[in-house]
Symmetry: C2
Subunit: 301 residues, 2 copies
């Protein structure tokens, strides 16, 4: 694996390298270090929302608009796959086929693999790769409304949160978790009953929650399935990107990533600990977990 | 903080201790070690599903049924709060008030605090506390369908996944992530249009995905808002609990927790690293992140 073909825009090398980075992050480090001086041009937009909110459809239309502008678009779709099944990756192949003949689009799905920290790190690694390869817009799509999204939102320069009418107490969920990560709210399926009410609720929630950076998140209507409102969504995202503050956000993202990278590396020293056997001992009441951890720390000293 | 009042069933001590454990996990360790020999009686049931699926309503009715049976019920509600806001805890006070006069119910909400590992660990700590305090059924309620739920599902002995008709491609999400964590599917709002179709889809998904443990998840209809189907839900959960395999699950849970505890402790050695400053350096392109991590590891050696 070498940096040169990536920097030269070789898409086959890019695909191979993406797989390599995802499967063998440690071994990919020298390559990422080579790519690192070449990054910083891409703008990253995160797209999140509950299953069924229409994220993939919105992303597909965004790709089209961005391609019409002549931009090169990378898509990282983060799939909430089970750590036990190994992760079935849906939609990826369908999309890859749709844009197969377009060298200006690169789509990559990633499964969660049972390690959240690892996933945010893997997403960052992938943005380094795509940024260095000259993709100037990177869309990061995540499913769900949990901690994953908060972590991955940190990687993006701007985050869109999709909402749809009729999900009951979704604005409650908003207040509790999504409020701070949304730079733009997209009210998708805005032709459904309840769209007006949802918009009012979101506006009310936005006006109540003063953000530390002074930004008041835009609320944009869309009907992604019909391609309506997509330009407004992009405009709103760009307004947020244009107002600055990106450097601070990137710095915070790297601070979080550095902490994770250190954590992963440091755990390597405990590679010979048999956690499964220890878990059985604790479950049977033979050992207490705190004493076990103390022992491991002392042994490693 | 002492174990004696907890073991004696003092609810005020319990509430104080729960706060202490959540806020100062490290300092709470000696207490948790004292409580550890007294756990193992409680059965833990996880309840998860998208926002608006009706989890809180279901949990409320489950509490009532369990209380009618004379059981003591602990509830741990995990809130997907933002790490930036510090976490607004919703619903907790409302519920606490509802069961305020009932010494047989203890409700505790926990925010996510920006650290998933920490949250699963905190949930485990809380189950140790409630188990030792004599709560024989512990309900663990989580919001969302992401990695959080998978992690927290590991803590529970049985996991209920709530689905509601009309969420579009929710069964897709199922296939990708929720399939393996659901021991029982609850089709809530089963009076809505689309319930039959959803049930068929879930059954089809269940029949396709053979679980390693041979269990075929039950699919139960309910209308939680009217209290219908709650007894069926409990019966299904108990059928799963009764079939054994709990020891293996508990052992796996502890293995995961031990790994996390070690991970948290190990980072303590790097307490003087200024991640924020390092993040700024990396964002500005002055340092590369991999070199920084190497330096820190070498310094700590």
């Amino acid at each position: 694996m070498h940096a040169a073909p990536i920097l030269a825009g070789d898409l086959r090398a890019l695909a191979r390298t993406a797989t390599f980075i995802e499967n063998r992050p440690r071994e990919a480090e020298p390559l990422l270090r080579e790519l690192f001086p070449h990054i910083g041009r891409a703008r990253m937009i995160g797209i999140t929302g509950a299953p069924g909110a229409g994220k993939s459809t919105l992303v597909d239309h965004m790709i089209r608009l961005l391609r019409d502008e002549g931009r090169r678009v990378g898509v990282i779709a983060v799939d909430p796959s089970s750590p036990w099944s190994g992760g079935a990756i849906l939609g990826d192949r369908v999309r890859m086929q749709r844009h197969h003949d377009d060298a200006g689009v690169f789509v990559r799905s990633m499964a969660t693999r049972g390690c959240l920290g690892g996933l945010a790190r893997a997403t960052t690694d992938m943005t380094v790769l795509l940024d260095a390869a000259g993709f100037d817009t990177i869309l990061i799509e995540t499913v769900g409304v949990g901690q994953d999204e908060v972590e991955i939102a940190r990687v993006a320069d701007a985050t869109l949160v999709l909402l749809v009418p009729g999900l009951g107490d979704d604005v409650q969920a908003l207040k509790a978790g999504i409020m701070e990560i949304a730079d733009v709210f997209v009210l998708n399926k805005a032709d459904l009953a309840g769209a007006d009410r949802l918009k009012q609720e979101v506006r009310a929630a936005v006006s109540l929650a003063a953000r530390a950076d002074g930004w008041s998140p835009a609320v944009v209507r869309a009907v992604a399935s019909e391609g309506r409102g997509i330009a407004d969504v992009l405009t709103a995202a760009r307004e947020y990107l244009a107002r600055g503050g990106r450097e601070r956000r990137t710095a915070e993202n790297w601070a979080a990533r550095l902490r994770e990278m250190l954590r992963e590396r440091v755990l390597d020293r405990f590679g010979d600990v048999d956690f499964a056997a220890a878990g059985t001992d604790v479950a049977a009441g033979r050992r207490d977990p705190w004493a076990l951890v103390e022992e491991w720390l002392n042994d490693a000293r």
